[in-house]
C-alpha cells in the first residue's frame, strides 16, 4: 500500500502557491480602505488589535496555500497502489471470422486456454459471444485500447486475420503483453503468423495479401514511418518483404532501414541474407519480387554467421545484405498473382522453421496445425504474476478543498473582503 501519483507533472502547479503569497503581500495589513472624517476616535484601537489581524492574515495565507496545494494533489491524480491484491487475468481474443472459419479448421480448442478469458473480436468490437450485435469499428487498436482501459489483463492472445496495415508505423504500447496470431482467411493465404508485441520487440512482416489480391504498397508497412530514433524500441528478429515489380526504390529503402537497425549493436538483429526458395520456379513467380531479409532458412537461428545463400544466384548484394530478385511466373490468363503462386509448401515450411524453430513437417503444414508451437510459447506466459491495483485517492483532497474554501470564506469575510 503506497500512495503514488499518476500525473506527477501536475506538481509544477505548486508554483501556483505564489498567488496566495502575492495576494498576501499585496494585502498585507491593509483591508479595504475607508475614508472617514475623523480617525482620532479609533486610533487607540489600533495597537490592541494588530496582533489578531496579523494572525488572521497568516491563517488566510495558509488556508489559501493549502487550497492550491490540495488542488494540485488532485490534479496529480493520487492513487493508492496495493500490491498482490489483484491478479491480472489473461485474455484469449478471437476474431469472430477466424472463429467461424479457420478456428474450426485449425482445431484450435479454446479449452487449451483455460486460464484465459475468452472474448471474440467481431468487426473489431470485443463481444462476449459471436452472436452479439455487430458494432463496426475501423481500427483494431480501438479494441485493444478498450482492453487497455479495463486494466485487467496481463497477457492477451489475439487470433485474427491480418490487420497489418493497422500496425504500420509506431505500434502503441499496451500494459499487457500482446501475442497476435494472424490467421489466413483463405486456405491458400499466408499461414498463421505469430507476432509478439512487447515493450522491446516488434516483428515486422510485409504481409499484404488480402483475399487473393496483393494489396497496394502503401498499405504495407510504411518504411518511411520508421525513423532511426524510433528504432530504439525495435528488436527485429526477422523480416520478409514481398513486393510487386517496379518498386525497386522501396525495396532499397527497406534495406536501408533494416541495415540501419542492424548496425546498432543493441538490437539483436542480424541480416543473414535474402531468401527466395529454390522451388520458386520462374514459371510460378513471374514478375514478382520476393525479398526476404532474415536468417538463413534451415540454419540455427542462434548462430549468426555470414550468409551468402542465394539460390537463384541473381543480384548479389555486397556486404551482409543481399537482395534477390526473382522473376516468377505470372498467370497471365488471370491477370493477377495468386497465393498459390507464391506460397508453396517449401516456402511455408521454411518460414515456419524460422518462426518457431525446429522442424515443421509437411503434415503439420497441411493441417495448419500450429497449435503446438503456440501452446509451447503460451505455456511460458500462462501464469500471470501479481499485478498491482490502483485505487483513486483524490476524494480526501476534494473534501479538504471544500472545507478549506469554507474556512477561507469565513475568514476573509471577517477580514472585510
Amino acid at each position: 500500500m503506497n500512495l503514488i501519483f499518476l500525473n506527477p507533472a501536475a506538481f509544477w502547479g505548486l508554483l501556483a502557491l505564489t498567488f496566495p503569497l502575492i495576494i498576501h503581500l499585496l494585502n498585507k495589513s491593509k483591508g479595504t480602505t475607508i475614508w472617514v472624517g475623523n480617525i482620532s476616535w479609533i486610533k487607540k484601537v489600533e495597537k490592541t488589535r494588530s496582533r489578531s489581524i496579523r494572525l488572521n492574515e497568516y491563517t488566510l495565507l495558509a488556508l489559501r496555500s493549502l487550497i492550491f496545494a490540495a488542488l494540485v494533489f488532485i490534479l496529480a491524480n493520487p492513487v493508492i497502489q496495493s500490491n498482490q491484491t489483484l491478479v491480472k487475468r489473461n485474455l484469449l481474443l478471437i476474431d469472430s471470422e477466424v472463429a467461424g472459419m479457420n478456428l474450426i479448421n485449425l482445431k484450435l480448442d479454446t479449452t487449451d486456454y483455460n486460464a484465459y478469458d475468452i472474448r471474440y473480436l467481431h468487426n473489431n468490437k470485443i463481444v462476449n459471444s459471436i452472436d452479439d450485435s455487430v458494432f463496426l469499428r475501423n481500427n483494431l487498436f480501438l479494441a485493444l485500447e478498450e482492453l487497455e482501459g479495463l486494466n485487467r489483463y496481463g497477457k492477451v492472445v489475439l487470433f485474427s486475420h491480418g490487420y497489418l496495415k493497422n500496425i504500420a508505423g509506431a505500434f502503441p504500447k499496451f500494459s499487457f503483453e500482446l501475442t497476435w496470431y494472424q490467421i489466413p482467411s483463405s486456405p491458400g493465404e499466408f499461414p498463421i503468423v505469430k507476432k509478439q508485441f512487447s515493450k522491446d520487440s516488434v516483428l515486422l512482416i510485409g504481409q499484404y495479401l488480402q483475399g487473393n489480391n496483393l494489396i497496394s504498397r502503401t498499405e504495407i508497412i510504411d518504411a518511411g514511418s520508421f525513423k532511426t530514433g524510433e528504432l530504439g524500441e525495435v528488436n527485429l528478429k526477422f523480416a520478409i518483404i514481398v513486393t510487386e515489380p517496379g518498386f525497386d526504390k522501396e525495396v532499397e529503402e527497406w534495406v536501408r532501414v533494416l541495415e540501419a537497425i542492424a548496425r546498432q549493436p543493441e538490437f539483436n538483429f542480424k541480416f543473414k541474407g535474402i531468401y527466395a526458395p529454390e522451388s520458386f520456379s520462374e514459371d510460378s513467380l513471374m514478375n514478382t519480387y520476393v525479398i526476404w531479409i532474415g536468417p538463413e532458412p534451415g540454419k540455427d537461428l542462434k548462430s549468426p554467421g555470414v550468409i551468402n545463400y542465394n539460390p537463384l544466384k541473381t543480384n548479389n548484394i555486397t556486404g551482409p545484405i543481399s537482395i534477390i530478385k526473382s522473376q516468377v511466373n505470372f498467370y497471365e490468363t488471370m491477370g493477377r498473382i495468386t497465393p498459390e503462386a507464391i506460397y508453396n509448401e517449401e516456402f511455408l515450411r521454411t518460414v515456419f522453421e524460422l518462426f518457431f524453430g525446429g522442424d515443421v513437417s509437411p503434415e503439420k503444414l497441411q493441417n495448419s496445425d500450429y497449435r503446438q508451437f503456440t501452446q509451447e510459447i503460451e505455456k511460458q506466459n500462462m501464469v500471470a504474476g501479481p499485478v498491482s491495483r490502483q485505487t483513486d485517492f483524490s476524494y480526501p483532497f476534494w473534501l479538504a478543498v471544500f472545507s478549506l474554501i469554507i474556512g477561507e470564506r469565513i475568514l476573509s469575510k471577517r477580514r472585510g473582503q
Partner: protein, 304 residues
Amino acid sequence: MAKLKESNEKISDLLRPEIISSIEGLELVARIVVEEFFHGNNRSHRLGMGQEFSQYRSYEPGDDLRLLDWKMYARSERYYIRQSEIDTHITIRFIIDASKSMEHESGGLRKIDLARIIVASLAYLARNQGDSFGLFTINNENISRLSPTVHPQQFTRLLQMLIQLKTAGAWPIRPARLEDIYYPGRKEMVIFLSDMYEKENELMDFITSLKTQRNEVLVLNMVAQNEIEFAYEGFHTFKDLETGEEVLTDADKAREFFVEKKRIAENHFQTTFLAKEIDYHQFNSGDDLPTLLSGFLQIRKRLV
C-alpha cells in the same frame, strides 16, 4: 403621519448627487422641501410677513390717520385702527465648514451635500420671508463670502456658490481672517453647518465667539448615517480625509471606542452650547428636513 412620511420619501428620492450638483436641481430640492413643509400639518407654523391682519382697535386721537380702516367705518360708522404685525426682516448668515472631512460619505451622500441641501432649503424659506441672507464657506485654504442682502438675485447667487463649493484642508486653527465675516452686535441669525471634527477646540472657540446677546446661533452637526453606530464590519484601513492618517483595525472592536468617544463629544457640545444659549442639533440624512425648518422658524421667531 402617513402623508409626512410620504413627503419625506419624495424628498429623499431627490437627494442624489446628480440632482443636487446643479443649480436647477438644488433649487428644485429646496422648493420642494419648503413647500412640503408648508403643506398640511405644518401650516399652523406659518408666520405673517407684515401684511397679516392682527386686530382692530378703536381710534384714539393721535393715531395715524393712514391706519384708519375706511371700510370698517362704512360698515359700523366707527373709527377703527387696523393693526397688522409689523414686518420683520432679519439677516441670516450661513456658515459652512468646508474642510475635507465634510467629504465623509454615507449612502452615496456626503456631509457637504447634506449641508448644501439644508442651506438651499433654509435660504429658499428665508427669501420667501423677505429676509436677507448670506453664505460663508470656510476652510484653512479658502474663504468664500456672499454678504447678506435682499437682492432679488441673492438666492441664485447662493445656489451658484453652493454648487461651486469645494472642500479642502481643515478648519483654520487660528481664525484671524474670520473676523471680518461676522460683525457682532447685529440682530441676526447665524446658522453654522459643520461635522464638528476639531483638533484643538478651534471650532468650539469660533462658534462660541459668534454668540452675542442680540443674535441667535444655530449649530447643525452633520452626522453621517454610518457614523451613528459605526456601521462598518471586519478589518479595514481607515484613512483620515484631512490628515491622510491610516489606522488598520477591526471595525467590530473599534465600534465601542468610537461610539463612546462620540457620546462624550456629544455631551460636551450639548452642555457647552446650552450654557452659551446656542441652539445645537445633530442632523443626519435620515432626519427629515421639515422638522429642521420648523426649528429654524422657531428660532427666527425669537429674533423677531
